[in-house]
Amino acid sequence: MAIRIPKPPLPGRRKPPPPAERVNGEVTVKDQAAEVGAGLVGWVDERTGVGGFTKGMLFRKVPKGTNWFYTLGSATMFAFLSQAVTGVILAMYYDPDPSRAYDSVQHITNDVFLGNIVRGMHRWGATVMIVLIFLHMGRVFFFGAYKYPRELNWVIGVVLLVMTLMMGLTGYLLPFDQRSFWATIVAVNLNGTAPVLGPYLADFLRAGPEFGATTLTRFYAMHMLLIPGLIAALIAVHLYLVVKLGTTAPPWLKAKLPEPLEKERV
């Protein structure tokens, strides 16, 4: 019995590249150089198909009435990126050891070139990010952009909000001065007041029944590795859903009905 195998879907021969513009029938070096950029983009696009995706994302249709309030989400994301970049640089100098943390922060602020600028960007950027998140949340709420089919994106956004607040909590300890130390004591004890599981949660955060050296490293690891990783992953999902579902028109724009229905409207 003969076994019939379908022909493999082999692509046809590649089309020959379009002939470069010629001057007097000769390809000049200038012509070749001019094509390098397009050639590179084409090379990557042919192997990844990223061109169609990028076009679809950047040139997608947005509703009439889209205005500056719609940029608050992107603004929040850029605040996060700014925090990530300055945070990575700060981590090059910061030392999460209880006996050296405070001194290393003083070193960053007073000795390192532009250290006070970068630390200030990280410190104020944290506040800016929280403010932007709430403005973005308010925009989504008042424009009704959380409604079907975007409920899941609202939920993801709330998780992102909570994780950003956790970033604030864990980052507050790192300068390791009196204020950050006692603020963390109070914050951990607040977590401990949750019934039944609270006491164990507090022990988990402190890595023991008393504030110790591992409390600082624990907060540091959560602040720079665990939570930012989760935030970055969730931002990706959040953005995917925004692109997939599109944005909503502002509530003051009425949907335009087809002509016969428009006449029936009283």
Binding site: M1, P98, S99, F176, F181, W182, I185, V186, V188, N189, L190, G192, T193, P195, V196, G198, P199, Y200, A202, D203, F204, R206, A207, G208, P209, E210, F211, G212, A213, T214, T215, L216
Partner: protein
């Protein structure tokens, strides 16, 4: 091999792929009989594909758990790790009176330098307060509201918290403000004329002893069960 050639053409379709009825008349889609997979035999209980899907999922789950479980256990370890009981010298028995507190600095955690130290207020037992004259009372400065350090104000005979205004009397019982239970205490003992301070313990409003709880956790009535004993601290 007869049913193999049968499945090669999509059931319910004619030669050119158009929908046909059994008698050949084109009258819309018919429910398709389920195609039999290659290797099917009569009376099989699980298909090869289902077995391999399940096997791959199980292998992936085991591999994931092999990474995740140790990592989670590593992070949660301190919750179940009981800290060692440490007894520290606080001073000679003659250093302390029954009428006023003497502050002493003790080390709660040796790994964090100055941050691991705390002030403890110590006095002799006072018979007028119903205490034995040969015992020593060591009051923790950790406020029972949220853990700020309280201060003994001698003239007022009160412990006062700087953060949210908690006030305690000379026995550490709540006089005012937000604290939910009296100030914690430390175990005390006397060895060779020296007062020694041991592990922390908490008390409810009747000064009954409980294993150390975190601040903000009341211990009266049903609350003692809602804030259970932790694995990391010694029993009272």
């Amino acid at each position: 091999m007869a049913d193999r050639t049968e499945t090669e053409r999509r059931p319910g379709t004619g030669e050119n792929g158009a929908f046909t009825s059994r008698d050949g008349a084109p009258n819309g889609p018919q429910p398709l009989p389920k195609a039999k997979m290659p290797g099917y035999f009569e009376g099989e209980t699980i298909t090869r594909r289902a077995l391999f899907t399940g096997g791959a999922l199980a292998a992936g789950g085991i591999a994931g758990a092999a990474i995740a479980l140790p990592a989670i256990g590593f992070a949660l370890g301190p919750v179940f790790d009981k800290v060692e009981e440490v007894w520290q010298d606080a001073g000679a028995t003659t250093d302390f009176s029954a009428d006023d507190y003497t502050p002493k600095v003790l080390t709660l955690d040796t790994s964090v330098g100055e941050a691991g130290k705390t002030t403890v207020y110590i006095r002799k037992g006072n018979t007028s307060l119903g205490e034995r004259a040969d015992e020593f009372i060591a009051i923790s400065t950790r406020c029972a509201h949220l853990g700020c350090p309280v201060r003994w104000v001698g003239p007022a005979q009160r412990f006062v918290c700087p953060c949210h205004g908690g006030v305690y009397n000379a026995r550490g019982e709540v006089e005012g403000g937000p604290p939910v239970r009296p100030l914690d205490r430390f175990e005390t003992r006397v060895q060779n004329g020296t007062v020694q301070i041991g592990p922390r313990y908490s008390v409810n409003s009747k000064l009954e002893k409980f294993s150390a709880r975190d601040p903000g956790e009341p211990l009266d009535g049903v609350w003692q069960y809602l804030y259970p004993k932790r694995f990391s601290v010694p029993s009272a």
